[in-house]
């Protein structure tokens, strides 16, 4: 699978797929050498697994596709700032770069909350590029929650 110029487009498509399935719209994609290694979207409701966040699903799929246990040459694109659990997982698998769209002041752990990648107990920090298409991702989330109120 080749990758479009902006891999965040793939993440947005996955977020839309999540919304259509009644899940909070978050999508993620992992890129290696300009190609898609793995994708993930939020499946918490469908699977009954509160740990099934988009980026965690993408990481697990990438580990399965790769087989070496290390994703040090891979970049992650996700439509929402990762939570503490997912930031921890990103450090564990040593992802190279993290691109995220909307910030999450309530649950984020990168530029909000515990800011894990800046802490001494974080043993690998990716390069972080936040706020990529943030308003589009924020709008998608607001629309989802507004429709369910």
């Amino acid at each position: 699978m080749t990758t479009p110029d902006n891999p965040m487009e793939i993440a947005f498509a996955l977020a839309a797929e999540a919304a259509a399935a009644g899940e909070v719209p978050v999508g993620a994609v992992i890129i290696r050498d300009g190609r898609v290694l793995a994708t993930g979207r939020n499946t918490m409701r469908e699977t009954g697994d509160p740990t099934a966040h988009a980026e965690f699903n993408a990481i697990r799929a990438a580990l399965a596709a790769d087989g070496t246990g290390r994703l040090a040459d891979c970049d992650l694109y996700v439509t929402l700032e990762p939570c503490t659990m997912c930031a921890g997982a990103i450090a564990q698998v040593k992802l190279r770069r993290l691109y995220y769209a909307a910030e999450d002041p309530k649950g984020g752990a990168v530029d909000n909350g515990v800011r894990f990648f800046s802490q001494p107990t974080c043993h690998h920090a990716p390069e972080v590029i936040g706020g990529v298409s943030a308003s589009r991702a924020g709008e998608m989330l607001r629309k989802f929650f507004a429709e369910r109120r």
Copy 2:
């Protein structure tokens, strides 16, 4: 499966099993209503999955066994203080109590590091009982690393 008076004994047995398999010795067990719901041990090496920590494996097994996605009436016993990723997962699945043995000043996220359960972006904090059989767990870890030097 009935549970012994001290469920941490089960976690220690799983940690020993991990060591015998060449894994860093950490074991975990999840208890509901006085019975074992699920167990896990470190399988990072064997599975090539750096997220396959003992307590994360136990949480996934418990979710699979339970099916509701919530473990709010469950207690987790683990031989090492959980890391940031695992502390995040514990909050996500809303475990009631966390018993851990050895502290982990370098990677822990409960009484060290980001102290996640005390942070405003943590939306569920378990009751924490740390230091249960800590010296025994610490000795097990020291022995494992000393033999590999």
